[in-house]
Symmetry: C3
Subunit: 132 residues, 3 copies
């Protein structure tokens, strides 16, 4: 069975740090050297890797997307969340991190973020770890 990370969002647009959950999934796998693939199982959410130190960065990114992809526009999709679908394609449904010595290899400032674009909702991220 595939491993999943459960995420509970509390706003319509929001970045949620899942770095700890990803490292736990790597720990559980026992794999010391390989690649960890993450995949969002939704069409109005995404994944991104960006600064984790200053919490203002995780606010600037969805704020920029809210401005550049207007909520109400000339859309065909009638559910009121066309902007959420577009933002999902701009950030992308998957991310990967390299594993070395059992640890996710990240730069000093990097964190792994779940990107909510149509919350608040209960969400799932699938995890697949391949050993070397």
């Amino acid at each position: 069975m595939i491993k999943t990370i459960d995420v509970r969002s509390s706003a319509r647009s929001e970045l949620i740090d899942i770095t700890g959950e990803v490292q736990s999934a790597i720990d559980d796998s026992g794999i010391k050297d390989g690649v960890c693939h993450l995949f969002v199982l939704h069409t109005t959410a995404g994944l991104t890797i960006n600064e984790g130190a200053d919490p203002s960065v995780k606010r600037d990114i969805p704020a920029y997307l809210d401005k550049t992809v207007p909520r109400h526009g000339d859309y065909r999709h009638m559910e009121g969340n066309s902007d959420s679908h577009i933002k999902a394609s701009l950030t992308g449904a998957s991310e990967m991190v390299i594993i070395e010595g059992g640890k996710a290899v990240l730069g000093v400032w990097q964190a792994i973020y779940f990107c909510e674009f149509d919350g608040p909702r209960q969400r799932k991220v699938a995890v697949k770890i391949l050993g070397n």
Copy 2:
């Protein structure tokens, strides 16, 4: 030899659902558990994963990109398709799906799309499947 999916586009900007072709490639590989990597072999096309149920979503995404990346702008590239190159970098050249029980693991609403940004053309997507 590498496996490829052939795509024929019929408009300048268009999303084409290739989920069935990707599943066929997974079936042909015989791999039941692993990762399927997709890679566009062109510089004016991309890949994205988004809603497959309502066909209006696959129209809203390229329509948004057409609006935000103007076709005629202050570009240096003189072939008239600078916007296509930029859109290709915004969506990205690759996507991946996890394979479990021989099936691509996708959310209920997810489909895999080839993104044409300078069609109509004949295109190729390379497929690489790694088993666990």
Copy 3:
């Protein structure tokens, strides 16, 4: 130990062709058939795959991003590089290429670019190669 590619940027926004360095890393690995994963260890830089033949394309992409993500905006992050973080999430921290016969499988016009968004700086791209 993980393999890294060192990149020295010379402008604030710039695309730098690292295709040769990626092929060298594949050569060094001795792996003939598999996947090469690339991962930027920074939060104000990204990776993209786009045209390598006409150098104007690698200027049009950061020029577009500079225009669409203004340097001075209504940002919370106070280091003056919020636009760099946003551009990093739009291009993404990782890329992958398929390896066949010891060579990166790329389309005729494709090159692999490091995307600098807050240079000039010394940067690192992590490389992980998985054999089939």
